[in-house]
């Protein structure tokens, strides 16, 4: 006869107590492994969703780019309107027009019935030395779009720069280490940096944009501009010649050139599409993270509560068991079993209960977690869900839990006075 055999015999005799204890351990273990499996499933599912979204987004960006390419192609080109007496050699050499025209030219154009151009952008441009930073820059004063009165208002393609603000091209802000919100001085006037452009690989990179009115004052060219950019000229059917004709009719002392606008428009379009896609992806990620945090919150209160209740249950059942076994304890002590042995007898039984319960609970919890997942996803596989560490943690945890919960009952059983028990008639 061994103690282990004694334990097993006793277990099979007092089945109800044993199975109730096992059940408690199983509930605790199942709850833990279920929660772990569920959280893991959520993580895998999130990865799956985000992967899919990313692929979708990429496809969408490509499609968008293509759409924009087609659209801009249909648009034909953008044109630049300069004063008539501007020498084009100088213009191309200097990157800006050295001749000026009245600012109200743009209003004339806007108020005309011209159909071939839209989005009028007047500007005052000059290449100059930024005295405070000792850099050559192109300074552009811009006031945003001048609406064409005969057309339905369109969403502006280019935002105006507010007074007191400055927008910097990539080369400028990156080499001078300037960030948004900083205040810089230009020609003795302070500007707050409101926007920084990404690299475009053209003269925009060394350009600074400010409000048109302020540029006119700084450059002493009140009410003057030296270029009007007309974007999205819908004149694929007409060509540049027709646009030129129309413009020169309204503004006789100007000349019209084709501008680089196509590439710019396309870059901006692509930029916008990509930003939108990234934002959508971020929204999904954020949503999943919030969900996970909520679930973790829930799990981290529920699981310990359940485990605690189960531990109390195991302890209560062990107390009941030790009471049922009073006479047994008395006679075992008379047979020379020490109180230490009695203590370990109860703890060994508790360990068996904890382990067996954990095995049951793991099976149940694992399948429960899986059912919840498989409901929502076919791609998260059983193998991916299986976490050996969680399993070991649960098996060991439930065993320790059961032993700990039985500690006091076992101690009380071990401390029972055999004389007290055996003297009863």
């Amino acid at each position: 006869m061994t103690f282990l055999k004694l334990i097993i015999k006793e277990i099979s005799y007092r089945k109800l107590n044993f199975w109730l204890s096992i059940l408690s351990a199983a509930v605790a273990a199942g709850c833990l492994i279920g929660a772990l499996t569920f959280l893991r499933a959520h993580k895998l599912r999130t990865e799956e969703i985000i992967d899919r979204k990313e692929i979708e987004t990429k496809k969408r960006v490509i499609k968008l780019e293509d759409d924009y390419r087609k659209i801009t192609k249909k648009m034909g080109f953008n044109v630049l309107i300069l004063p008539k007496d501007q020498n084009l050699n100088d213009f191309y050499a200097d990157d800006f027009a050295s001749k000026y025209m009245p600012e109200n030219y743009v209003h004339k154009l806007a108020n005309s019935k011209i159909v071939t151009i839209r989005h009028l952008l007047p500007s005052l441009q000059q290449k100059l030395k930024w005295p405070e930073k000792k850099r050559t820059i192109i300074l552009i004063g811009t006031r945003g779009e001048v609406p064409n009165v005969f057309k339905s208002p369109l969403k502006p393609l280019v935002q105006p720069v507010n007074p007191g603000e400055i927008v910097l091209g990539h080369e400028l802000h990156s080499s001078l280490n300037i960030s948004i919100g900083e205040v810089v001085t230009l020609l003795g006037k302070s500007f707050k940096v409101s926007k920084l452009h990404r690299e475009r690989g053209n003269k925009d990179d060394i350009t600074a944009w400010i409000n048109l009115k302020e540029a006119q004052i700084l450059l002493k060219k009140e009410n003057k501009i030296n270029a009007i950019l007309a974007l999205e000229c819908k004149c694929a059917w007409a060509g540049l010649a027709k646009v030129r004709d129309e413009i020169s009719e309204i503004l006789p002392d100007t000349q019209t050139l084709e501008s680089h606008g196509k590439a710019l428009a396309r870059a901006e379009a692509r930029d916008r599409a990509a930003k939108e896609a990234v934002a959508a992806l971020d929204a999904v990620k954020h949503h999943r993270a919030v969900m996970l945090a909520e679930q973790k919150d829930f799990v981290s209160t529920l699981v310990p509560a359940v485990i605690f209740v189960c531990a109390v249950w195991i302890g209560v059942l062990a107390f009941g068991n030790s009471r049922d076994r009073r006479y047994e304890i008395g006679v075992l002590r008379a047979l020379g079993v020490s109180s230490k042995n009695i203590f370990f007898l109860f703890l060994t039984k508790a360990a068996l209960i904890g382990f067996a319960g954990a095995v049951l609970g793991c099976c149940a919890g694992f399948f429960a977690g899986m059912l919840i997942v498989s409901d929502k996803s076919q791609t998260v596989s059983l193998f991916a869900l299986f976490q050996p560490n969680a399993l070991i943690l649960t098996l060991a945890g439930a065993t320790i839990l059961s032993v700990t919960a039985t500690w006091l009952p076992a101690l009380s059983a071990a401390r029972q006075d055999p004389a007290e028990i055996l003297r009863k008639e």
């Binding site: 004694l6 015999k9 006479y327 008395g330 047979l335 079993v337 020490s338 055996l422």
Partner: protein, 214 residues
């Protein structure tokens, strides 16, 4: 030799102190079957548990073959008990979930002896229980239960058998079997000490000590 010298035991009952055993001395020689007879409440069980190393006397010494069990630490004393003392109780105290054979073998839990199973089988045969080996206590008659308890008590051939009203729940015939066994067991050079209120049972012993209590 089993030797009790000036054993004293009292219990505190609320504010009263009850002297259950007062200056009790007794010497038992090897080979003797001793009966301690006394009325109910005279302290027989208390005395038996003190000899059985389960209840520390307030005063006096217990010597079992020259060993004072109360000088041993609890762990060693439990071992000593397993080796040297067998108990038989009025209520048998068999483990309800073990068969007859397994119950007898519980004596082997702590004090492992070779061939325990063969010895148990032989004993059970001797006690007319060979047809009951795999039965649970609940399936036995009271006589069979007490014979199982007896087999358990003597499995390790302890020097000392302590019996508390062993025939209290038995009819005369079954009681006689137990008493007869005690006599023979003692005669092999052991000590058997039985406490009983029954004059009839006590008379089968080699010697009767009377415990008058108080």
């Amino acid at each position: 030799m089993l030797q009790l010298t000036n054993i004293k035991k009292s219990f505190r009952k609320k504010n009263d102190v009850v002297n259950v055993i007062d200056n009790f001395s007794l010497t038992v020689d090897e080979g003797k079957f001793i009966a301690v007879q006394g009325a109910s409440g005279s302290g027989k069980t208390t005395l038996l548990l003190m000899i059985g190393t389960l209840l520390t006397p307030d005063n006096g010494t217990v010597l079992i073959n020259g060993t004072d069990p109360y000088s041993l630490n609890p762990e060693v004393r439990a071992n000593f008990r397993a080796q040297n003392i067998g108990f038989v109780f009025q209520q048998f105290y068999l483990l309800p979930y073990l068969t007859v054979l397994e119950n007898v073998l519980t004596s082997n839990l702590v004090f492992k002896k070779a061939n325990a199973k063969e010895k148990a089988l032989k004993l059970l045969q001797h006690l007319n229980l060979e047809h009951r080996l795999t039965h649970l206590p609940s399936e036995l008659s009271v006589g069979e239960r007490q014979r199982t308890a007896l087999a358990r008590a003597v499995l390790n051939q302890p020097k000392l058998i302590l019996a508390d009203e062993p025939t209290g729940n038995l009819d005369a015939e079954n009681g006689a079997v137990i008493l007869d066994y005690f006599k023979k067991y003692a005669a092999k050079g052991n000590y058997v000490l039985m406490v009983t209120h029954s004059k009839h049972a006590a008379e089968t012993a080699d010697r009767i000590e009377v415990l008058d209590g108080k």
